[in-house]
């Protein structure tokens, strides 16, 4: 029914939408110990008060996740950081892990926060496209 060319085009389309791209949203991979731990016991929760505090509002419009992050810079380093808000397990764990990671970093180092860093903090190789916004919410910091 299809000519050779048609088949090639068709296959390309099928591949694009299919499992080849196996960035799993696989649940067992996703809800690892570390993610569940940080979700149930998020670190650095709260709000810093006083002078020299930077405040950043992170929002994930698509999901309704919102985090308010405050951090304090001393001698070019992030001396302290706290955050509060509401999100899913992935965004919450990500925010919690990133807050630990940032503490003590110079601003320059902190600026190096990227998708790869977050994935490794979460203990994941990849994340499904639909959950990227959750995992990478802390990237809105800079």
């Amino acid at each position: 029914m299809y000519s050779f060319m048609d088949k090639k085009i068709l296959n390309n389309w099928l591949l694009r939408a299919s499992f080849q791209d196996d960035k799993t949203g696989n649940m067992d991979d996703l809800y690892k110990e570390i993610i569940l731990d940080h979700y149930h016991h998020p670190r650095n929760v709260g709000k810093l008060e006083g002078g020299h505090i930077v405040h950043v509002h992170l929002a994930n419009a698509g999901c309704g996740d919102v985090f308010d992050v405050t951090y304090q810079v001393e001698n070019g380093k992030i001396a302290n950081i706290a955050w509060q808000g509401e999100g899913c397990a992935i965004s919450t764990a990500s925010m919690s892990l990133v807050s630990e990671w940032l503490k003590g970093k110079t601003l320059e180092e902190a600026n190096g926060l990227d998708q790869k860093t977050i994935l490794s903090l979460l203990g994941l190789d990849e994340i499904a496209p639909v959950r990227e916004k959750c995992a990478f919410l802390p990237l809105q910091l800079w």
Partner: protein
């Protein structure tokens, strides 16, 4: 006999295996429905056999295509109890509502006028009005939602009494896509007509798949729908405009097809109302596919479709009420006394104690159950109730009670994963 299991065989995607090997339980119908083979075939047939531009070519295919377009329009209009003149083809509900804002609203709303929408509306029935109000320096207010998840009609009554003819547009949803509330259209229309000269725009995106709708009998002035939520293809929808208003509604898209005569300076617009609102080449294949969907639903009988939905909604409410971690969203409190039954349609959304909606959805997905999580494009509603996000299951003709059972069982896994 209405048998969802039989109907499932008409929808090829429902038997396409998931990568986990699990059977797909598709409960995200309020976002978009799946398509039966007849719809897919109608679209393919059109492109294989009839495709040509409409109203343009004097040749056999041009004739076939033009006939298909007109036939499809007639079928769709009839399905909704309207005349083909009253039907303007759009891309979707969103475009239809924007059209009301741009064509009618732009001409008739003045500084200081009042536009009413509702807190429970989808963003597509809020943002166009926010923007219109801003352009016109008009006021926009949203009819509040009661604790039970119903429109606050007492508020509306006070408002229309006080504001009277200042109210120019009243827009509301037939069925809320988050609360599932079925709003009393006739009652609202009576109230608005008693005290104002406002036009009434109805968002019927979520009622069209489940209820027998008669546009003329509903008594609204505008009604917007999307084909893709009612077994038809994506990318096509309609705005219905009451006959008596047609002469006063000016087109808002200009170009080929919709004109009478064009000179270098200006153009007159087509007298034929059908043409006047069809600027550019329409999506004929989409219309043909949608008409096939209407025929499929008519054959099932919309009264039975409605009954089927009601049973699924009540079954789901009962099952979910038995789970302590679940808090149902929308009209439910008096469901046991039957008072609220029939006031819901199409979907049930809920909160799961201690677990975010996205995580609920992810766990359900691992069991093959597809649901929607998030704010469902109703952020003001979520804000009003203080919900960050909700999980929603929604139904269509092929949804069975067994599907609900699988979903409820899968919910049990949420507890397992998150209580670790």
């Amino acid at each position: 006999m209405f048998d969802p299991h039989m109907l499932q065989q008409d929808f090829p995607i429902l038997s396409t295996p998931l990568k986990s090997g699990k059977k797909l339980i598709y409960l995200d119908n309020a976002a978009t429905s799946q398509k039966p083979q007849v719809v897919i075939d109608a679209i393919t047939q059109y492109y294989k056999r009839d495709n040509a531009n409409v109203h343009r070519g004097i040749h056999e295919l041009g004739d076939r295509s033009t006939r298909s377009w007109h036939e499809a329009r007639k079928t769709i209009a009839t399905f909704f109890g309207a005349t083909p003149e009253e039907l303007v083809m759009t891309r979707n509900t969103t475009e239809g509502l924007n059209m009301v804002a741009y064509s009618y609203g732009e001409a008739c709303v003045r500084e200081g006028d009042l536009i009413l929408t509702t807190v429970m509306d989808h963003h597509s029935n809020q943002v166009p009005w926010q923007e219109l109000a801003r352009r016109k320096k008009a006021r926009l207010e949203m009819i509040p939602v009661t604790r039970e998840g119903m429109l606050d009609l007492e508020w509306l009554e006070r408002k229309v009494k006080v504001e009277g003819e200042k109210v120019k547009i009243v827009a509301f949803p037939h069925v809320s896509n988050t609360l599932g509330t079925l709003n009393p259209v006739e009652k609202i229309v009576r109230l608005v007509r008693a005290f104002t000269k406002a036009v009434i725009a109805l968002d019927a995106a979520q009622s069209a798949p489940h209820l027998l709708i008669n546009f003329d009998r509903l008594g609204v002035d505008f009604m917007a729908v999307s084909a893709h939520k009612m077994l038809g293809p994506m990318g096509i929808g309609a705005l219905f405009i009451r006959q008596s208003l047609l002469e006063n509604v000016s087109p808002w898209l200009f170009g080929g097809g919709m004109i009478g005569e064009v000179t270098k300076e200006r153009a007159t617009f087509a007298d034929d109302l059908e043409d006047r609102f069809t600027a550019g080449t329409p999506d004929v294949a989409g219309a043909v596919g949608w008409a096939a969907a209407c025929e499929y639903l008519s054959k099932l009988d919309m009264k039975k479709v409605e009954q089927h939905d009601k049973e699924l909604v009540n079954y789901t409410l009962e099952k979910l009420q038995a789970i302590p971690e679940v808090e149902i969203v929308g009209p439910v409190e008096r469901v046991k006394r039957y008072e609220v039954r029939g006031k819901r349609c199409g979907s049930v959304a809920f909160l799961y104690k201690g677990v975010h909606a996205h995580d609920v959805a992810q766990v359900l997905d691992s069991e093959g159950v597809a649901v929607r999580s998030g704010h469902h494009c109703t952020m003001p509603l979520h804000a009003a109730f203080g919900w960050a996000a909700t999980t929603r299951v929604s139904f269509n003709v092929y949804t069975s009670k067994e599907d609900i059972d699988v979903f409820v069982r899968a919910l049990g896994k949420v507890k397992e994963v998150f209580e670790k």
